[in-house]
Amino acid sequence: MALELRNIEKRVGAESHIYETNLSFVDNGFNVLLGTTLSGKTTLMQLIAGTDKPTSGEVWFRGTNLTQVPVQKRNVSLVFQQFINYPNLSVYENIASPLRVAKISRDEVDERVQRTADLLKLTPMLGRRPDELSGGQQQRTAIARALVKDADIVLLDEPLANLDYKLREELRDELPKLFADRDCTVVYATTEPTEALLLGGHTALLNQGRVVQFGPTSDIYRHPRSLLAAQVFSDPPINTASVQKQGDQIVLSESVSWRAPDRQAALADGPYTIGIRPHHVLPRDPGGDSVAVEGEVLVTELSGSESTIHFDLAGSVWVSLARGVDTFKVGERATLYADVAHALLFEPDGALVAD
């Protein structure tokens, strides 16, 4: 029996923030909520924490109905995007604070604070105050406080969003390890698809108040059920275009068509939508069954280890993502190579066709 949302719904006035949702999180697992701002992640977290009540439906945890249980009586820890610590307490006392409230013996408090501080590399900072710490250390302190009380449920609402990217990389790497051996269910909200992938575990894809798909993170990334699921779980955005299947050919435009891969060969003729992830569109011909497409370069973004080329393909924006540094000038005509063997096909209503 895990953390469950049963027929949960949240309306504020005439507006639905969460449409009727059923979701059973993985017990003792790492569960990610992935979606853009206002997709419903924070609302779901508040319903689980008990800081907000559902309009209808129930929250269950390990066979107990929590819906009417007040927030103080749910054994839940919360970490937010903003670093929230007690400014006038030392790091030690900040971490110890949930244990002080629970009236735990002095020796046990000390043992647990030291162990948690060690895990989060805060031991040298225990005597300092939060304003003497870097942003990364402040958020480590907030995470330590959430860990120290051995909560049943730990809710992390975009905890890395306010950190610069190197600190984000470091904490993202550590977080799944911190929770791996603990007896608690983690729910982690993020707007970033790559972060969801690297955290692993299970992911729920959210869009405008609805769960679009839930499952093991890598699985649903590779096997989205619908175009919408593929779009929610793609950064940069997945490239899409209308295509026609005609006999054994898939036709993108007058000049671009290719032989349907075996898995799509038996499909009925007619209109489909193709979805092809940016890393399957490359600036150099990878060989195999790739198809050349031509467009005007809008910009090449460089991250240092990857190049993201935005280009205009017959009126829609497509994106290519390649390793290393590839630069094109703005406005240049460029040929890019789409690895259509990895393309996904969707019905006109958005459902994935047999894969």
């Binding site: 990217y165 090449t300 240092g304 540094v325 406005g331």
Partner: protein, 355 residues
């Protein structure tokens, strides 16, 4: 337009800095060519804002000179340096129209109305603001307002340099690429010297032809995006640019070669290994490490799926070595051997590459 030279620059906010660490800028010599697109990149506290303020004239350096072409401007106040600046937050007049905002820097300098009109329309055209010229600036979105700020920076034809200080901070992440594209295009069109200050490596590498990377008050490397990725001259550059950053491993020298934990490694800068005095390390990016039949013996400890590739974390004794494995390629389960690309493996002494 001008070439900018920073000569033997040093700056401290203290009257008599007692130690080397009390210098915000330790020693700088930089030449910025006329018409170039440059970025100043580094973490917070690295000295980039101090440097920006010295170029604009808000701060007088403790030592050294600032030259615009051959004119020494070190003692000139900001308003006599002919500089345009674009800041983090849009600096515009809400009550004026878009036209009025763009015209302001020109009218302020008594430019004839006919020329004002011509310049404003030209800039508005570049920024796709022509159909908004008569609208009130207050009605625009954050990215619309920031476009006006960019336009105000670009509208004067008499400036020596345009400086951008984290100009995309307030822009929605999904729209950033559009403004990045605009900035690149504008530089291509106007060919003015531009300096872009940021802590974000994607911002810097996307905008600039050459990037000045700073850390702890020093320039650690000046290079093109390709050079910073393929030939980091300092371990900080390897770490800060690229995700995950460069592997940095302690090494020993023996028999004219380098080895890690007693295992010989072929390096690109072998000819430079003549009795260096200092801490020796080998640097290799995860992109240039692969699994092989023989080589460095490691234990595979963790695999993270990033979708387009997997990050494999391995251990050689106490040292972590990360490598990237493409989608679809296999990863050995426990014991494995690693190969370092010899062209991309370098020895560093006290963090600087040996040459």
């Amino acid at each position: 337009m001008a070439k900018i030279t920073l000569e033997h620059l040093r700056h401290s906010y203290m009257a008599n800095p007692p130690t080397e660490a009390d210098w915000a800028l330790r020693r700088l010599d930089i030449d910025w060519d006329d018409g170039g697109a440059y970025a100043l990149l580094g973490p917070s506290g690295c000295g980039k804002t101090t440097l920006l303020n010295i170029v604009s004239g808000l701060l007088k350096p403790t030592e050294g000179r600032v030259l615009f072409d051959d004119l020494d401007v070190t003692d000139l106040p900001p308003d006599q340096r002919q500089i345009a600046q674009v800041f983090q937050f849009p600096v515009i007049y809400d009550t004026m129209t878009v036209y009025g905002n763009l015209a302001f820097p020109l009218r302020n300098r008594n430019v004839p109305e006919k020329e004002v009109d011509q310049r404003v329309r030209q800039i508005a055209d570049m920024l796709d603001l022509t159909d908004r010229l008569d609208s009130r600036a207050s009605g625009l979105t954050a990215d619309g307002k920031q476009k006006i700020s960019l336009g105000r920076g670009l509208v004067r034809s008499d400036v020596n340099v345009i400086m951008f200080d984290e100009p995309l901070t307030v822009i929605d992440p999904h729209l950033k690429w559009v403004l990045r594209s605009k900035l690149k295009e504008l530089h291509q069109e106007v060919g003015r010297t531009m300096i872009y200050v940021t802590h974000d490596q994607t911002e810097a590498l996307t905008f600039a032809d050459r990037v000045v990377v700073m850390n702890l008050g020093e320039v650690v490397q000046i290079g093109t995006p390709v050079e910073l990725f393929e030939r980091p001259e300092h371990t900080f550059v390897g770490h800060f640019i690229g995700s995950p950053g460069m592997n940095v491993l302690p090494c020993e020298l023996a028999d004219g070669g380098a080895s890690i934990e007693g295992h010989r490694v072929t390096v690109a800068n072998a000819s430079a290994l003549n009795e260096p005095d200092g801490v020796l390390e080998i640097g290799i990016r995860p992109e240039f490490v692969s699994f092989a039949d023989q080589g460095l013996p490691v234990d595979v400890v963790r695999v993270s799926d990033a979708g387009r590739y997997r990050i494999v974390d391995t251990r050689l004794g106490a040292h972590s070595i990360k490598l990237l494995v493409r989608e679809g390629e296999s990863v050995p389960s426990e014991r494995a051997y690693l190969r370092f690309d010899p062209e991309r493996t370098r020895v560093y002494c006290d963090s600087r590459v040996l040459t």
